[in-house]
Structure formats: C-alpha cells, structure tokens
Amino acid sequence: MVKFLKILPIAIKTGTVTIKYPYQEPLITESFRGAIEIDPNKCVGCGACTRICPPKALTMTIESNTIILKYFVGRCIFCGMCADTCPEKAISITKEFELATGNIFDLYADVEHEVKTCPICGKTFITRKLSDKIISKVPDIPLETMDLCPDCRRKETLKKFIGVPE
C-alpha cells in the first residue's frame, strides 16, 4: 500500500527546481522573443509593420503635421512579424518581457515623423523621410511633382502631357 512512496528517491535526487526569480536570472533561451524596439533614426514611417501586425499593436495616426507610429505593448503578441517585414530593418526583437506597470502610458512607444503637406490641396499624405527615401532610390524621378499628393500629382502630370482639362 505504500507504492506511491517510490517517488521519494527521485524527489530527493532532483532537489528544488524552483529558481529564486527575480533574484536569479530568468530561464529564457537565446531564441526568446520579447517586446520590440523601433529605431527612430532608421524608421521612415512607411507603415508596412502596421499592415502585417496581427493584433494591431502597431498603428499609424496622423495628427496635424506629424505621422505617429504607435506601439502598444499591451496588445503585442511578440510574434516579430513586424521585424521580419520592416524594409529598413528599423525594428528589432528584444528579450524584454518584464513589462507589467501601474501606468498605462508606460505601455506605449511612439515614433513621430514629419509629414508632407500637398501645396495644392493641403492634404497630408506621406512622411518626409519616406519621400526622401523614394527620391534616393528611384533614378530620374520627376522632382517637381514629388511634393504633391498622389491625386494632385496625377492631375499635374496629365496637365503636362495633354494640357489643362475642363
């Protein structure tokens, strides 16, 4: 009737397995994915990460003359799809997981970008950095229409080729 006691030698041999975290190093491996970090210098504000993010932890909002890339770690599932997608390699995956806080604003990280405003219609449409990036990457891009929003650019280009409409 004491067969269950046979576990005792194993228990004695194993000893205590619970570590003294947080006084000891946490048990995370080299592959662990934690919160992400966005390098504001590398980020051009293209928004690719916001389109792939499955839980919508990354969002883009336009506020007057800035575009804000907002990272809310409260929604983050630590999948790292943003880092895989980012064309500028501006997003890195850290091993940070001790994210609990009493202040909800600690869970937000913002990257602000200066936004371009269309001189014709006054619409805001793209970050200056992304526009500069395009100019540097695409050879022979018509610079005179680069400041215009896509709609006005189309109209201006048409005007150039077929004259003034209406």
């Binding site: 009737m1 067969k3 269950f4 080299e30 592959s31 662990f32 792939i52 993010c53 839980p55 799809m81």
Partner: protein
C-alpha cells in the same frame, strides 16, 4: 514505388465504389470532381439523407466536419459542405448542398449520422439555415442574442455585430453609475478556459443515471474575425484557438490554404512543422497526465509530471522563440529555422524526458489506488465511438484505430515510421495508456525527424491567391483530429471553418458517465482531455435540509480515492 501505385489504384477503387453508390441518384447529382485528395460531389438537397445513408453504411467512413457558408454574392445560395473521411484511405469526400436563399431549408441527417447534431445547430445559429424534421435550438449564440441576426452572413461586419449585441451586464453597470466597468463572470461557466463546460449530472445515490452538457459559453467569433484578416495574419489568430495545442490550428489553417492553392511547401519546413507538433503533443500529454494524477489525489505525481514537462516547454522556446503560441507558421512554410546546435540540444532534452517519464509512469501507474480508479470506469464502447465519429486518444482508447498522421499524411509524417497505440477496453485506463504510449512514440518520432531534417529553404518565396478554391487541412492534435476547411477569398479567407477535436468528442462524455460513481465523474470528463480547470466548482444541493454549499470539484474525486485506502 510499386506500393505507391498499388495505393493509388486502391484509392481509386474506393472512390469509384462510392461514386457508383451516389450516381444512382443521377439527375440529383450535379457533378463529381476529384483534386488533391478531395472528392467533391454536388448534390440536390432532397437526396442528401439518402446519400448520407449510403456513406454512413460504408465501413470506415466517418463525418469529419461540416462547413456552412454564405455564398449569396457568388451564386445566390448558402452552401453546406459535409466532409467525410475514410479511415486509412487518405481521401476526403465533400458533399456540397446548395440551399436557396429565399427558402433556406434542408433535410436533417442527424438521425443517420449522430455526429451531425452540433454542426446543424451551429449552421442554424450562425447562418439561419433551417434543418427540417428535427428540434432546433440555440447552441452557440447566447440567450440574449437578437432574433434573426445571423452573424456569419456577409451583410454583417464584425463592427456591426459588436454594436448589435451588448451583453445585458453592461447596461446594468451603467444603471448603477459605475464607470470603466470590467465585468467578471464567475461560476460554472468559467471564462478563462478555452473549453468551459457545464455538466448537469443526474445521480441516484452515488450512481450517475444521466448527464446533460451545456456549452459554448465563450464563443469568440474567430471564424468571422478571420474573414477580415490577411492570409499571413490568420495563423496567429488560429494559434490562439487553443492555449495548449495552438500549433495544430496554425498548421491546419496553413495546410488548408496550401491545399486550396496547390502550394508546395519546402521539405525542410514540413520537417520543422512535424518536429514542433510532436513537441507540442509531448507537453500536452504530460500536462494531462499530471492533471489526471491530481484529480486522483496523487499530487506528488502531478508535480513530477509537470516538472518533466518544463524541460519540453524550454525546448519549444529554444526552437521557436516562444514557450507556447510559437508563432512560426505562415502560409507556405515556417519563419524560424533550426540548426545543428539546436538539434543536438533537443535530442539531449528528449533523452532525459524519456528516461524520467518512464520512471514516473512505472511508479504512478502501478499504485493500486490509481489503477482502481482508472480501470473499468468511464467505459465507452467501440460501437458508440464509431457512431459519434470520435477522434484522437478518446477513439483509440476504445479500439477505434484512427490517426490523421497515418491516415491523411501531412507535414513530414510520410518520411518516418511510427506506431499508433490503440487499446480496446474503452475505460479511463485505456485512454491514459494511449497517451502514455504516445509520449514515448512521439519521442521516437522526434529522434527520426531530427536525424533526417533535409537542407533547403524553410518557406516558399511567394504565392498567389486564386479566389473561391476549396482547401482542407487536418492535423492530429494531442486531443484528436483538428480540421480546417477553407474557401479562399481575394485578400482574406472567404469562409474559414474550424473544427477542434473536443467538438467531436464531448458528446461521448454523456455516454461514458452513465453508470459511473459520482466520484469518478471529474476524471471521466477529464479523460477526453478537454483542458478542464481546477477552479471549476460543483454545487451540492441538499433538498431535504435546504442546504446549498459549494465545493472544489476535485473534492468529489478525492472522496473516491479515500474509499479505496
């Protein structure tokens, strides 16, 4: 090579015999086509019961799932896809029934195929399809859901539905003037579990006479959400269907898309998927084994089972980057590669787990109290298992030899040899032994997989979507067969149907419970591995003395162990 040809000939014979059975309804059969192991048979709704009868009487055929889909903007109809499998034939038979939108009625098949019960009720709830000659009641939607609002119809967006349905608790909170209210439902309908359940057990003395199940307390509308997400975002949502075996869902979803679009997944990715799936099975079975011992009052065994499991969790993190919800599946492959160093470490961990678990099983399974509680309790006869189209260890514990890894080979399972443990007793001990054997079998499979991982790419570079293609993906989860059926859309799935194994297995619990002692109820319910929570409470009502008290559910079970001591 010759065996492959022999296989395909046999496969064709099986299909042709079914087609010959169906074809006699000539003008009511609109078309039969075969592609990628899926035979699609389009039939008129009037002949559905007769065709279902023909299939149900063919040996080895079982109902895998049913998908109801709103295709009014395509062809002006709702469409039902009844999916049947044939044991060991690697083939899916899909009966497609168009239901006109002006008269959405279709004959029931529940009297022919018991397993169709919930599928029909769910299609009624979600799409408003009327099944004639059966009792229809709400299964999935809550009681206070507005009448005539069918959430899976395309005219409702997720935002519309959120506006249409407000749980009454919110109104009450506003009434009492509390701002920023968080509603915490507490009770037998436990909100934290992915499969909360409520059993009403009718007892005479200590013996269970009957049991009634009430479920679907936390329907999350995941299928609808998936219709608004991009193809590569859905795997992360799918993975969250289950907190224990999420990887089976993301794999199943990816396979469904890949099968619909004929995408060839690189072999290395197939191996990585299989490796992670087997690691997931080991941790899930170790978890279950621990919980079972806990329910029997042997908490030391529970602690040791989970201690052994912890190494597997850390290993999963090493290979994928996360302990759970690994997040490495995408359509066309996987996102994280493994290297020789990781393979070496994995083998080291597995050797240790094998050795430690063997010792634990030897000790715990031989304890007289444990055997006495497991043996002969919660018996599920083979006939019932077949009739209910059961899957996984629940089916295999009743001698029904059914395993997707062998019957519908996917990922890298065709490249390795393995055994499917089956026991014929059908009791709680049989289901326990199936899982114990499977842990060792999985370790053995992992040794082979880790040894054979081929070199090459881990995902396809790109793939293109063709809308309105049907795809099926199934995976043997720790709890049984998971099956995803998918109709592709242009940017997102047009319709995505998920069927988890517990959906198929839960109706069997009522049968297992009949005639058992009250003390064996918790273990019997847990024996299908529905992720049961230790926080569920049983309410004891003593009508004679008008006393009501609440006790932790495991106390019920412990009473049984004390009686043996």
């Amino acid at each position: 090579m010759s065996s492959a040809i022999a296989n395909s000939i046999q496969l064709l014979m099986e299909v042709s015999s079914i087609i010959s059975k169906v074809i006699e309804f000539n003008e009511k059969v609109f078309g039969i086509e075969q592609r990628n192991g899926i035979v699609r048979i389009k039939i008129h709704r009037d002949v559905l019961p007769y065709v279902a009868q023909k299939l149900a009487t063919t040996k080895g055929i079982y109902m895998r799932t049913m998908m109801a889909s709103d295709e009014r903007d395509l062809e002006g109809v709702y469409r039902l896809y009844y999916l049947f499998g044939i044991d060991r034939e690697h083939i899916n038979i899909v009966l497609e029934v168009a239901v006109p939108q002006e008269d959405p009625k279709v004959p029931t098949i529940v009297d022919i195929i018991k397993a169709a019960d919930w599928y029909e009720l769910e299609a009624h709830d979600m799409l408003g399809i009327e099944f004639i000659d059966r009792r229809l009641y709400r299964l999935v939607l809550p009681e206070d859901w507005p009448e005539k609002v069918y959430p899976l119809r395309k005219e409702y967006s997720v935002q519309d539905l959120m506006k249409l349905y407000r749980p009454k608790a919110v109104e009450y909170a506003k009434e009492i003037g509390a701002e920023n209210i968080v509603v915490i439902p507490i009770g037998p309908y436990h909100p934290a579990l992915h499969e909360p359940e409520f059993f009403e057990v009718y007892v005479s003395g200590e013996r269970v006479i009957d049991a009634k199940y009430v479920g679907f307390m936390v329907h999350r509308g995941i299928e609808k959400l998936g219709e608004n997400m991009k193809y590569d975002q859905v795997p992360f949502l799918a993975e969250r269907i289950c907190g224990i075996c999420g990887f089976v869902h993301s794999t199943s979803y990816c396979q469904a898309v890949e099968s619909a679009l004929n995408t060839d997944v690189p072999e290395r990715a197939q191996f990585i998927r299989s490796i992670i799936l087997e690691i997931e099975r080991i941790h899930s079975h170790l978890l279950w084994f621990g919980v079972a011992l806990h329910l029997l009052g042997y908490d030391t065994g529970f602690m040791h089972s989970w201690r052994i499991r912890e190494q597997v969790m850390v290993l999963a993190e090493l290979l994928t980057g996360s302990r759970k919800t690994y997040g490495i599946n995408v359509v066309g492959g996987v996102r994280r590669d493994i290297d020789n160093d990781k393979i070496r470490k994995a083998i080291e961990v597995l050797k240790n787990v094998e050795d430690e678990f063997k010792k634990l099983v030897e000790i715990s399974i031989n304890i007289p109290q444990v055997i006495a509680r497991l043996k002969g309790t919660g018996v599920l006869p083979l006939g019932e298992a077949i009739a209910l189209s059961l899957v996984g260890p629940t089916a295999r514990g009743s001698g029904l030899d059914r395993d997707v890894r062998r019957d519908y080979p996917y990922a890298a399972y065709r490249y390795i040899s393995f055994r499917v443990p089956t026991y014929s007793e059908g009791d709680n001990l049989a289901r326990t032994l199936v899982r114990v054997d499977e842990v060792f079998e999985s370790i053995n499979m992992l040794y082979q997989l880790l040894d054979k991982v081929p070199s090459g790419e881990i995902r396809v570079e790109s793939w293109t979507v063709e809308p309105y293609r049907l795809g099926v993906g199934s995976v043997e989860a720790p709890r049984g067969e998971v099956i995803h059926v998918l109709l592709t859309g242009r940017y997102s799935p047009y319709r995505w149907r998920v069927r988890a194994p517990t959906y198929q297995n839960l109706p069997a619990v009522s049968i297992m419970l009949k005639g058992v002692d009250l003390a064996d109820v918790p273990l019997t319910i847990a024996s299908i591995d529905p992720c049961f929570s230790c926080t569920d409470r049983a309410i004891v009502i003593d009508i004679g003395r008008s006393v009501i008290k609440t006790i932790p559910i495991e106390f019920l079970s412990l009473k049984g162990s004390k009686a043996i001591r």
